[in-house]
Amino acid sequence: MSVATQDTALRTGRVSRAFIYLFLLLMALFYLLPFGIMVINSLKPLSEITGGNMMSLPQVWTLDAWRSTWSTAQIGVEPTGMRPYFWNSIKMVVPAVAISTVLGALNGYVLTKWRFRGDTILFGLMLFSCFIPFQIVLIPMARVLGLTGLAGSTTGLILVHVVYGIGFSTLYFRNYYAVFPTELVRAAMMDGAGFFRIFWRILMPSSGPITVVCIIWQFTNIWNDFLFGASFADFDSQPITVALNNLVNSSTGVKEYNVHFAGAIYAALPTLLVYIVAGRYFVRGLMSGSVKG
């Protein structure tokens, strides 16, 4: 196959090559344009936006909007800026991703390497949770949070996201470990390693790629979640998505578009970062795997 692609690459002339790049460039532009506009306008004073063209570059470059969005902008009724909510999100997303990933890995390990009667049925039931729409669980979940005294707290949100995340993370790890050689586990068992040591020393070191996939998936989902945040959080535990909504909907006077744009970028930045950083490890993980196999 590689020979065929090389062949094609050789035969493709300069003209068609240029055409391909042009096309790719256009698609990239189409994709980046909205983001570009957001960035440009977040760097303008408000007067330039309301008085002029959204598409033009700023005449005065300023970080004022970014500063005020971060620390002084009106969110709901309080002029706190996005900062506390950003940290709320971090405090929620990091433990939620970590816990759901570790639990998913453990589940996958048990479901494939420590099989027991009824394990397939159990797995099927866990998969079910991937298909249940968020709206259906809102009321039962509120009741559970109320009963456990976790309503309105970051811990409560972590619990909700972990519960929702386990289905997917278990699916990922179960399928990954299903093809992981059972003989390795047996060898480690004979070598005297116990349940957790086999997990940490034998399975985990080979789980890089799937862990990264799982983290990217969970991080994006939990960070971007609005519904659970809006439903279950208090003022002091609201995640950034809810804060962004409140920022944009604040009804005091003029719409500060530059501040809204900056707020939206703040809210999107961490997921972007995760893709850029972890995506590279993901590819690297795949590569080392293919060389090894």
């Binding site: 050689p181 047996r186 060898a187 480690a188 070598d191 005297g192 034998i202 070191p205 080979s206 090894k292």
Partner: protein
């Protein structure tokens, strides 16, 4: 006292019984090979010895201590897996010492043992590599090193050579045999390759369908197979099995078969007629190994009963060291083994010598050996 005692062991998966009341006593220092066709339960039995599969009923004891329910790591056994099962994320050195580390052996002692084993297996230059950077034969050595370093009571091997190419397989076979001779450890070895079984073992257990068909030394298994299954399974090319009729005449016993033209030929048996009393005229299956059918000059000089006869050769297959010939007797293809420079050609009506000392006779109904 036996070193490893497998006593009345049965394995069931749900309602299906895959091993039926297996009894094997293994003495210290023995090299026992479990051999049989795919799915006969060899790996299952080995895994039960290892503690990786539960024993449904019966007991397995090592050094008189029952092992039922004892965790694999507490049995003082080591196993070499078919896929080698080397930990991909650890270096060769780590792979070998992982078991020692898990058993709490101090680092200095681990390193000393590693050095010794690596020397013995000649893998010292590989210790810092990852398994992915090794050839098949090197991986095989590392897998053996991992077992050796533990200094176990019993070694278990599950088809350790089946992933190697033919030449390497022969080399490693010799190495395993040398290792056994040098260390004198007790080994249970699973294979479905009957040549491996013959060359390596001190005793062989031939299995089929969850039953032990025969347990004995390679010679016993080869020369006096218990039944038609064992006779046909062991040996390559496999034993010729021909329809025959018993003829008793006074003290003399013989079998009668049809030659290539359908004419009856009588082959005398080197046993007194008393051993076959009451079977005169009954149908039997005559088993003759290819090497007992030779050209007259190649016949075993020390054999007592050699029958000379002429038969038409259908095919010759020179194999370098020998020439295999195919001829027809009793309506079946019969394979003989001649010297490499015997002058036979397809279509010849050639002189054959049949060494009846080595012939065995089976009951066609029970398939068990009569003589």
């Amino acid at each position: 006292m036996s070193f490893l005692k497998i006593d009345n062991v049965t394995k069931r998966y749900g309602a299906v019984e895959v091993l039926h009341r297996v009894d094997i006593d293994v003495q210290q220092g023995e090299f026992l090979v479990l051999v049989g066709p795919s799915g006969c339960g060899k790996s299952t039995l080995l895994n039960m010895i290892a503690g990786l599969e539960e024993i449904s009923s019966g007991t397995i004891a090592i050094k008189d201590k029952p092992m039922n329910g004892v965790h694999p790591s507490q049995r003082n056994i080591a196993m070499v897996f078919q896929s080698y099962a080397l930990y991909p994320n650890m270096t060769v050195g780590k792979n070998i010492t992982f078991g020692l580390e898990m058993h709490g052996v101090p680092k200095a002692e681990r390193d000393a043992k590693l050095g010794k084993v690596a020397d013995m297996l000649q893998i010292t230059p590989l210790l810092d590599r990852k398994p992915g950077q090794l050839s098949g034969g090197q991986r095989q050595r590392v897998a053996m090193g991992r077992a050796l370093v533990r200094d176990p009571d019993v070694f278990l091997f599950d088809e350790p050579l089946s992933n190697l190419d033919a030449k390497l397989r022969v080399d490693m076979r010799t190495e395993i045999k040398k290792l056994h001779q040098r260390l004198g450890t007790t080994i249970v070895y699973v294979t479905h390759d009957q040549i491996e079984a013959m060359t390596l073992s001190t005793r062989i257990a031939v299995m089929n369908g969850g039953y032990i068909q025969q347990l004995g030394t390679p010679r016993e298994i080869y020369d006096t197979p218990n039944n038609i299954f064992v006779a046909a399974f062991m040996g390559s090319p496999s034993m010729n099995l021909l329809d025959a009729v018993i003829r008793l005449d006074g003290d003399d016993a013989a079998v009668e078969i049809a030659d290539g033209d359908g004419a009856p030929v009588t082959l005398p048996l080197p046993i007194p007629a008393a051993r076959l009393q009451g079977r005169d005229g009954t149908k039997v299956v005559l088993g003759i190994r290819p090497e007992a059918i030779t050209d007259p000059d190649g016949a075993d000089k020390s054999a007592n009963t050699v029958v000379a006869l002429k038969n038409v050769i259908d095919v010759t297959e020179p194999a370098g060291s020998d020439t295999f010939v195919t001829t027809t007797m009793a309506g079946k293809d019969v394979i003989g083994r001649m010297r490499a420079d015997a002058h036979v050609h397809a279509g010849d009506n050639a002189d054959l010598a049949i060494n009846m000392d080595k012939a065995v006779i089976f009951d066609p109904k029970t398939e068990d050996r009569i003589v």
